[in-house]
């Protein structure tokens, strides 16, 4: 029994942290957020070189062949500095291809993912905004062996930057008719429209499909058999988002605690007042708790798939509830300074607001916890 990270993982964490601290502190993040693409190709390439983009990609395809727990280590650090990159989106596309792609499909896309040249994403939501298989309404028309897709997906992570889109669609009415297609950016009929984000370090957009032709060799696994994989990808998404939330929350807590130690009012550091001290303690309690839940969920993704959905929902539910509260307290306990653009507090609050609904909010996940927990 060992609920901790290995030495290799701790080393990985230290390396990622060092890289980010040296190259992309928050001033740099702010600058990147003002560019249209929102991230830096050169950092991305370095990330790939260091093996962090292809962390989960099998070694034969140019990756390192590690698991979700290792990715969590990286994501905690990217979350801590709000590092903007298509890492989560690409990891989800990569996970889909790894899980169900044929040898040929893996060989076609995974090396590019691992070396940073192909940015991937998962187009998991439609206008109904219903998560999961029930929300897949994109209905394919059959054209000989191929499928023709016309419709849209919204809230697609890093849509405008992506080269590969993993797109769930239906070829019939039921869950047994759901397939996942990998569609390349240059495909005819595919169009992307970027959308604004409450968290300026994030990019997302709408995907439009107008008679996009999907050949059999672009379908992952058996046509119609993708429902379980799609649900698993949503769990992966919830885990990845929550991993970044841990890092961001911890950074917010550090910022606030250190302010509370130095800010003097009524001749005392405000951190001496229980009205400040106790909310900070609650932040800590919440972070430690959803951290434990998240680590376990990541471990379950790798080792105990039958428990992964419940574990992921618990982690995301707790984080979706706690992180926005942490963001609000971070701004609020600072007083006026916390409300200014120059100060960093609001960056965490905005991440929290962005994070909450992404891959399911607390209402969604608590309901799922209830259902999976047998009531």
């Amino acid at each position: 029994m060992n609920f901790g990270f290995s030495e290799e993982q701790e080393l990985l964490r230290a390396e990622v942290r060092k890289f980010l601290d040296q190259n992309c502190p928050l001033e740099e993040v702010r600058k990147l957020s003002e560019t249209p693409q929102g991230f830096s190709r050169s950092y991305w390439d370095r990330f790939a070189e260091l093996g962090w983009v292809g962390l989960g990609v099998p070694e034969v395809h140019g990756g390192i062949g590690l698991g979700w727990v290792d990715l969590v280590v990286v994501l905690e650090e990217t979350g801590r500095t709000l590092f903007p990159s298509p890492l989560i989106a690409t990891s989800l596309a990569s996970a889909a291809i790894q899980a169900a792609g044929s040898e040929a499909q893996q060989a076609r896309w995974l090396p590019g993912i691992a070396d940073g040249s192909l940015i991937g994403t998962l187009a998991h939501l439609e206008d109904s905004d219903v998560l999961g298989c029930a929300g897949v309404e994109l209905l394919a028309r059959r054209d000989a062996d191929a499928f023709l897709l016309t419709g849209g997906k919204h809230m697609v992570l890093d849509a405008a930057n992506a080269d590969l889109f993993v797109v769930p669609f239906k070829s019939g009415a039921g869950e047994e008719d759901i397939s996942l297609a990998v569609i390349e950016r240059a495909t005819a009929g595919l169009d992307v429209e970027p959308a604004g984000s409450i968290d300026v370090t994030q990019r997302q957009g709408r995907l439009r499909l107008d008679g996009v032709r999907v050949e059999t060799d672009a379908i992952l696994g058996e046509p119609g058999g993708a429902a379980p994989l799609f649900e698993r990808l949503l769990d992966c998404g919830a885990v990845a988002i929550t991993a970044e939330a841990i890092g961001a929350s911890e950074a917010a807590l550090e910022l606030t605690a250190s302010y509370a130690k130095q800010r003097v009012q009524f001749d005392q550091p405000i951190g001496r007042f229980q009205g400040v001290k106790h909310p900070l303690a609650e932040m800590y309690v919440d972070i430690e708790s959803f951290k434990s839940l998240l680590y376990y969920a990541a471990w379950a993704l790798d080792n105990l798939p039958e428990e992964a959905s419940l574990a992921a929902s618990r982690a995301k539910a707790y984080a979706s509830e706690a992180f926005p509260r942490i963001g609000i307290d971070t701004v609020g306990l600072h007083g006026g300074i916390g409300y200014t653009w120059e100060y960093d507090a609001h960056l965490y609050l905005k991440r929290a607001k962005w994070c909450r609904p992404t891959f399911g909010d607390a209402d969604y996940h608590y309901e799922r916890v209830a259902r999976l927990g047998g009531i």
């Binding site: 939501l125 109904s128 905004d129 219903v130 029930a134 919204h154 809230m155 959308a195 604004g196 984000s197 409450i198 968290d199 994030q202 997302q204 003097v264 009012q265 009524f266 001749d267 007042f273 009205g275 400040v276 926005p324 609000i328 701004v331 609020g332 007083g335 006026g336 916390g338 409300y339 200014t340 653009w341 120059e342 507090a345 609001h346 609050l349 905005k350 607001k353 962005w354 909450r356 609904p357 992404t358 909010d361 209402d363 969604y364």
Partner: protein
């Protein structure tokens, strides 16, 4: 207990309604000409500064008449009465109570006419919640005060012609509240630098204001030297009616309800989601509690009883509601709550709203300060 109006109050309400029927146009149709005309008319009726004494140009309205006037205006979403917000809220009342005859003549008409804006120089970098610890230095030299120091969180300093300013004229005092003096300062006086502060929702309402050997004529002192704290406390007491805030919250909640009807969550209208319904009902209930709390305080005022710390009850409610309604509005939108700007619902109105609470929550004294006021002044618990 009687929520009905007296006959003469009903008559006043009828007068207000008649005026509004005749003169108000719907929200979308209010042109610049309309606004100019509106300002002229409400000023003519003395509804600007309606509660101020008639001899300074106010309306001499009773407390109850003020409530009626504000109530009817809010119901129809009428434009504000007068445009010099802080002048009408506390600078004017402060001048009326503590000012010299000359000061009254010089400032009050312009406040009523909305000729220019006032701003308020209270907070300093090291004096936020603990306002009385302020340090901006002020030394008298002959007929002038010389001011050096810095203010912060000064709303609309960049658009104001005058400032009501608190400075420290003496450090040799037993309690820090003594030794503070209140000055009226023209913003184009040499030595004043204004630097707007960009806030987290992207706008700029606040500014830093720097004072570098700023010379203020002694006749621009408001009240007695060293008693600026009292001037401030009684001026701020005018801020506390709380009725306008309830109207604002009622309007926001009604928009949130509309939002819940139009957004779908998990495949059905958000307004059918029991959790969302519960949160809306809870906000509705607390807003109604604020309205009724306000009426209970008003009743006390009408009876001539002092109303002081009770206003912290509604301030606390309001702070929490501003935060909660912003969260609720985003959560109703599901994953679209993560959008912003043109991509978002109503052009990102709710995203902006959900980031604007600090203006209210921090500006008017933090929730912790309100809790302390209630615990110490009402429940008699020992001071921190």
């Amino acid at each position: 207990m009687d929520f009905n109006l007296e006959p003469e109050e009903e008559a006043f309400r009828a007068e207000v309604c008649a005026f509004l029927d005749e003169n108000l146009v719907p929200d979308g149709e209010r042109t610049a000409e309309f606004m100019a005309e509106w300002s002229r008319k409400v000023r003519e009726r003395r509804w600007v500064g309606f509660s101020w004494p008639a001899d300074v140009g106010g309306g001499g309205g009773s407390l109850m008449q003020q409530v009626i006037l504000k109530d009817e205006m809010a119901k129809r979403k009428a434009p504000p009465l007068g445009s010099c917000f802080m002048g009408l809220a506390w600078v004017g009342p402060g001048i009326i109570q503590y000012g010299t005859e000359e000061q009254k003549q010089k400032f009050i008409p312009d406040i009523l006419d909305g000729t220019y804006q006032w701003c308020t120089g209270y907070s300093e970098p090291d004096s936020g919640s603990d306002l009385a610890s302020l340090k901006t230095r002020c030394v008298r030299e002959g007929d002038e005060y010389v001011v050096n120091g810095q203010k912060i969180w000064t709303s609309i300093a960049m658009w104001s012609k005058w400032m009501i300013l608190l400075v420290r004229t003496s450090t040799n005092v037993e309690v820090k509240h003594d030794g503070i003096t209140c000055l009226l300062v023209e913003m184009d006086t040499p030595g004043i630098t204004v630097r707007p502060i960009k806030n987290m929702s992207g706008g700029s309402i606040f500014a830093e204001v720097f004072f570098d050997d700023v010379r203020v004529p002694v006749e621009n002192r408001l009240g007695v030297e060293g008693q600026g704290w009292q001037v401030t406390v009684s001026a701020l007491a005018n801020e506390r009616s709380g009725i306008a805030e309830v109207h604002g919250l009622v309007r926001t909640l009604s928009d949130v309800k509309e939002l819940a009807r139009s957004c779908r969550r998990g495949g059905r209208p958000a307004s059918q989601d029991p959790g969302i319904r519960r949160r809306i009902a809870s906000a509705d209930t607390r807003i109604e509690a604020m309205r009724l709390n306000g009426m209970r305080f008003l009743t006390k005022q009408l009876k001539g009883e002092p109303v002081g710390s009770e206003s912290s009850v509604n301030k606390l409610h309001r702070a929490l509601l501003e935060i909660e309604l912003g969260e609720l509005a985003l959560e109703i939108q599901g994953s679209r709550g993560a959008l912003d700007g043109e991509s978002a619902l109503d052009g990102g109105r709710w995203q902006k709203f959900s980031l604007n609470w600090p203006e209210v929550v921090i500006g008017g004294g933090t929730p912790n300060i309100q809790r302390n006021i209630i615990a110490e002044r009402i429940l008699g618990l020992p001071k921190d």
